[in-house]
Symmetry: D2
Amino acid sequence: MKKEVVAKVRVLYSDVDQMKWANHGAYHRWFEMGRAEYMRRNGFPYKKLEEMGYFMPVTELFCKFIKPIRYDDLLKIVAWPSNVKRASMKFEYEILNENDEIMAKGYTNHVCLSKDGKIVRFPEELKKILEV
Amino acid sequence: MKKEVVAKVRVLYSDVDQMKWANHGAYHRWFEMGRAEYMRRNGFPYKKLEEMGYFMPVTELFCKFIKPIRYDDLLKIVAWPSNVKRASMKFEYEILNENDEIMAKGYTNHVCLSKDGKIVRFPEELKKILEV
Amino acid sequence: MKKEVVAKVRVLYSDVDQMKWANHGAYHRWFEMGRAEYMRRNGFPYKKLEEMGYFMPVTELFCKFIKPIRYDDLLKIVAWPSNVKRASMKFEYEILNENDEIMAKGYTNHVCLSKDGKIVRFPEELKKILEV
Amino acid sequence: MKKEVVAKVRVLYSDVDQMKWANHGAYHRWFEMGRAEYMRRNGFPYKKLEEMGYFMPVTELFCKFIKPIRYDDLLKIVAWPSNVKRASMKFEYEILNENDEIMAKGYTNHVCLSKDGKIVRFPEELKKILEV
């Protein structure tokens, strides 16, 4: 699986708490940016999935906060799919600083749902880009 | 118009930024709590409005940040409707600390929409509680 | 370890995404409310810890999103400490709906830091309430 | 005053509520991105201001939500300073979509504070870039 930087983002003032660290509640946005940009790069933006009548909600989230992230840091987001099954998958993430130090890492698990909330197989077109 | 405390809320760590003040981005949640609890108290929770096929989106928001709000402060939220017209209205807010000092105040303007996004009159039942 | 409801919270409109589910990014706030209220109930609010010159940042977060949480749901937050060591600990959480169904569960890991960022032992007074 | 696009940002899933519109609580982040990038472009990132011992907190925020912003929209943020006085100023904002339609506009007022919380004059170096 190729692990590459798919997005960059500046830490906002409103992301940082009174420890002067990015609050742990800010990281889920960076993970979301990562998987959205991974999918867009590979020709299948998440928006398209919903337009086709599917959802891919987060069923689990894990994050390990390794080093303090500070206000105005420019972060690099690495995201890649893993453990792709018929109706579920994982996205993995690394958050790097400008010097490529790993500041945080984690994953989200997802399930594929139809519009009426039933677990269904991923559409083939999506599966192809996830299994690269 | 009766101005009364409709909700109380503790300031979270994730609400506070590195100035050790509640970040200005946190206040919209307290305003939302205020108007939601005003409506619930008066027998017409916002959820019911959507169930009836209406939306009441925010068209304008103003907030004046008067005194610094700190981590773990217990805030009192005062909210009341004003300027109620056929299809639009204002909610006004005051955020008080435990000693009833005004820490912030502001308003949100709202418009009444049908499910298909047209501006429509407020349902009578809602109008009644807004015009008290 | 006694597992009890330490806080209740209403789901806000701004917590919910276009799936009509509480967005996974909202849960960290409920976890924070849980551990804050656990500590307050046991006579040692987190604020006091910082006043004594310590921090207790989150080093890991895990959340399993079990059932969809909806707008305006009234949630019960259960939180309890576990795995308390000399300088690190875990808080565990369950998010229940009004019928006591488990909607989500998870944990946060924490480390005890001095003001200058060194890992130090928890103050005795805190350790006592965590080890109940 | 030159009004120019200083940043672009994708709307996240967690920014959007169950009306399928960006929640009004998301816009303050775009305003913050706008003023941060305005300052950085002009050679005076906000971070530097804090390093010099000043703060520039938000004293008022206004936003007019003109047209619905949707998930995954690519927004252009226009930000420019106005009404610059000795110790206070305004930033104005426009949020445009890809077709340069104005989706929202607003302002934030700011005051210049020293580290001990006193209102003080803006440092000359900052004033210069604000008064362009």
